[in-house]
């Protein structure tokens, strides 16, 4: 049983991606028996390249895939370089996980309500400072250059990269490295950048590639914040794919392949950039520059991270205001009155999506947790077979969702599987498992082996040791991993929409569906719900160990 766990895990990670990619290639060259096309041709490609504004769409995706990781990484690195254990640092470290839990769509809506011409920030300065009596005629949300979309992506990817970096850092013993460099006369920030950053970078390279793939192919954030005419490539692919005219699916498949090429191009550009920066770094290090720019770097890191964290936090606040706002004329900073009306009017449509969301996220997280625990326990018991294929875990994150999920839909249609909630759950597992594994594995492997040795020498079987010793000691981490898994599942838009064939509404699909033309107040209700479910997960993950171990001091300290 246990020995099959890593195999199942590997198949679940690679299988759907490989299958989906293969099955999107055929329709891209004209072969799709389901719609009566069984002759290979290059027509889909010709159609794709003659679609209006296609170059601009592709370019937007590529630029977003590069600008987002560059800014996010720069801010994270500069912040880490300046970390000194101050109150601000500790606050930000504590906010990382909850901010990560906010689904992308909810954060995007919050940001939109914050910075739109009629948004909260404009209201705060109006009319006193700006003189605006009416929302200014500015193109902020859905701007044609995609700047707002990239800003939204940057703020949302910063917590992710920060968490990955914070998890990797202890292995590098940054304190000693910095101390050594400082004793050679380097100012603190430079000391960190020269001695810790080069060692940290390779450890967060895979997560960075995941950010590149995500930013170049994201759908929900692009629908909410991204440009409209033309939209990013991924949004247009989704449009063609969902079109009632089934023949557009061939062009959509060609688009999916183009999406993979765009994301790969972004990665390739990143690799070139990496080389250049590496060279500059070495040159800079070799010059022995010890003092210059220290203050500027320190301040820009702090400002960057603070702005990002404040934008995300303010997004949640603005969503809350909108969800309870009564009449709210433009220049007024706050609504004239508060009301439950938006919640009451949504109640009738609320039950199914909320129930679906809970069922899907809880089931997929449970499956992920069992598989990941079984894989890790297997490697502990049979030492040799350590699950090291990290790239396999990253596969669903490195390949654009739009590209392989269409292939999967083609597959399920060929197999005449009914789209529905089970297919959605299975699809979510593919994205939940990597996060659960990455959160749990390090702590699991690092647990002092003497605990297990002691328990076994006292006569406990391996199974008893797992249930009575290892699992309770690691309960806190397992619950956190589950909360993260749940948050990932709740935030999934594309797999839910496509594998459920639009018939499995969740809070996320409902929220995104309202993006064009929905009332702000109703959108806010859905987006808040979308954030509340993962938040509840995180609160439980923190509260359960505290309650359970309230009389066990050593467990409290580790939690």
């Amino acid at each position: 049983m246990l020995r099959t766990a890593p195999v199942v895990l590997g198949i679940l990670m690679a299988g759907p991606v490989v299958l989906g990619l293969l099955l999107v290639i055929l329709p891209a060259f004209g072969y799709l028996p389901a719609v009566g096309r069984d002759e290979f041709s290059t027509l889909p490609w010709r159609e794709l390249f003659s679609a209006p504004g296609i170059q601009q769409s592709a370019l937007l995706s590529l630029v977003s895939g590069l600008v987002t990781p560059i800014i996010a990484l720069t801010i994270v690195m500069l912040f880490l370089a300046g970390i000194s254990g101050s109150k601000l640092d500790r606050l930000i470290r504590r906010l990382v996980s909850p901010l990560l839990a906010i689904p992308h769509a909810a954060a995007a809506f919050g940001l939109a309500f914050l910075i739109a011409p009629s948004g909260f920030l404009a209201r705060l300065v109006s009319p006193a400072l700006s003189g605006w009596q009416r929302p200014p005629d500015l193109f902020i949300i859905n701007d044609p250059l995609g700047l707002t979309m990239m800003a939204g992506l940057v703020t949302k990817e910063i917590p992710f990269l920060l968490l990955m970096a914070l998890a990797a850092l202890p292995q590098l013993d940054p304190g000693r490295r910095v101390m050594m460099a400082r004793s050679l006369g380097y100012r603190p920030v430079l000391a960190w950048l020269f001695t810790v950053a080069p060692a940290l970078y390779p450890m967060i390279r895979l997560p960075l590639f995941a950010v590149i793939a995500f930013a170049s192919s994201v759908v929900d954030v692009a629908i909410i914040l991204g440009p409209g005419l033309p939209a990013t490539l991924s949004v247009r692919i989704l449009g063609w794919f969902s079109d009632p005219d089934l023949s557009l699916r061939l062009m959509a498949s060609a688009g999916a392949i183009l999406q993979v090429i765009i994301s790969l191009t972004a990665v390739a550009c990143w690799l070139v950039l990496e080389k250049m920066v590496g060279r500059i770094w070495r040159y800079w290090t070799a010059r022995g520059q010890r003092r210059q720019f220290n203050g500027a770097l320190l301040i820009s890191g702090r400002v960057g991270i603070t702005v990002a964290v404040m934008l995300l936090s303010a997004s949640v606040v603005v969503l809350t205001i909108n969800a309870f706002a009564g009449p709210w004329r433009f220049p007024a900073s706050l609504p004239a009155s508060w009301t439950w009306q938006h919640w009451v009017s949504t109640t009738s449509t609320l039950a199914t999506p909320v129930a679906n969301t809970l069922l899907i996220s809880l089931t997929s997280t449970a499956i992920a947790l069992v598989l990941v625990l079984a894989t890790l326990e297997n490697e502990q018991r049979h030492g040799s077979s350590r699950f090291t294929a990290l790239w396999l875990l990253y596969m669903p994150m490195l390949v654009p969702q739009v590209a392989f999920i269409f292939g999967l839909v083609v597959f399920t249609e060929t197999m005449t599987w009914q789209p529905g909630i089970w297919l959605v759950i299975l699809g979510h597992c593919v994205f939940v498992i990597p996060y659960v594994f990455l959160t749990l594995s390090e702590t699991y492997r690092r647990l002092d082996p003497r605990w297990v040795h002691m328990a076994r020498s006292l006569g406990a079987s391996p199974n008893r040791v797992f249930w009575r010793i290892r699992l309770p000691i690691l309960l806190g981490t397992a619950l956190t991993a589950s909360a993260i898994g749940m948050a990932v599942s709740v935030g999934q838009f594309l797999p839910t929409q496509l594998l459920g064939a639009g018939r499995v509404p969740t809070v996320t699909t409902e929220a995104v569906a309202l993006a064009s033309g929905g009332s702000r107040n109703v959108i806010a209700v859905w987006a808040l719900l979308q954030s509340l479910i993962p938040a509840a997960g995180f609160i439980l993950a923190l509260a359960i160990p505290r309650l359970l171990w309230r009389k066990r001091r050593a467990m409290q300290e580790s939690a």
Binding site: M454, S457, M555
Partner: protein, 208 residues
């Protein structure tokens, strides 16, 4: 009760072709065999091999016999070999009583009554519901010893069990441990780099 005895028959541990340890000896019930050597000499590996936790990098030749039965092919939990480390390693999520119950064989009658009697005898009366984290160093060491005894081992391996204790506690705990182990007539294997431990154990000494 028949006497326990631990036999190491031509036991050889190698790491990447290099022999670390080669022993061929018998430890009788109530005797302590002390293995002394600098760190990295493989003395802890010897204990791991006997207890059944040899890291994959090492290879073991020879056989381990306990009370006339060969135990080296047997899973660790069925060997009847108890361990005492330098840290007491009381399971942090269980109470003192929970730790002790975890060690008691499942078929046993009157667990609660026996537990109470044993705790009283160890000067730990009323400690059953305590959180191990709130105990003093000496108390923790005594609970660890009691837990070991309650698991009814047929041999005991001690890995520098006193090295983390304060000097004034060390003699006290050392005396208690050896008294109880000799009383129970258990064959013991002690690994240490402290000559005082070896002297207090009073048995045969192997220097690596």
């Amino acid at each position: 009760m028949s006497e326990h005895y631990l036999e190491l028959r031509d036991l050889k541990l190698t790491l990447a072709g290099r022999t670390l340890i080669h022993v061929n000896t018998v430890v009788r019930g109530g005797e302590v065999l002390t293995v002394m050597g600098p760190s990295g000499s493989g003395k802890s590996t010897l204990l791991a091999a006997i207890a059944g936790f040899l890291p994959a990098a090492f290879t073991m030749q020879g056989e381990v016999w306990l009370d006339g039965t060969r135990i080296d092919p047997v899973p660790a939990e069925q060997r009847g070999v108890g361990l005492l480390f330098q840290d007491p390693l009381l399971f942090p999520h269980m109470s003192v009583g929970g730790n002790l119950r975890f060690a008691m064989p499942s078929g046993e009658q009157d667990k609660t009554a026996r537990l109470k009697a044993q705790l009283d005898e160890m000067n730990l009366g009323g400690f059953s519901d305590r959180d191990p984290a709130t105990l003093s160093g000496g108390q923790k060491a005594r609970v660890a010893l009691l837990r070991l005894l309650l698991s009814q081992p047929r041999a005991v391996l001690l890995d520098e069990p006193f090295s983390k204790l304060d000097t004034h506690l060390r003699n006290d705990i050392r005396r208690q441990v050896f008294t109880r182990l000799t009383q129970a007539a258990l064959p013991c294997l002690l690994v240490t780099h402290d000559a005082e431990d070896a002297a207090a154990a009073g048995g045969q000494v192997i220097e690596l």
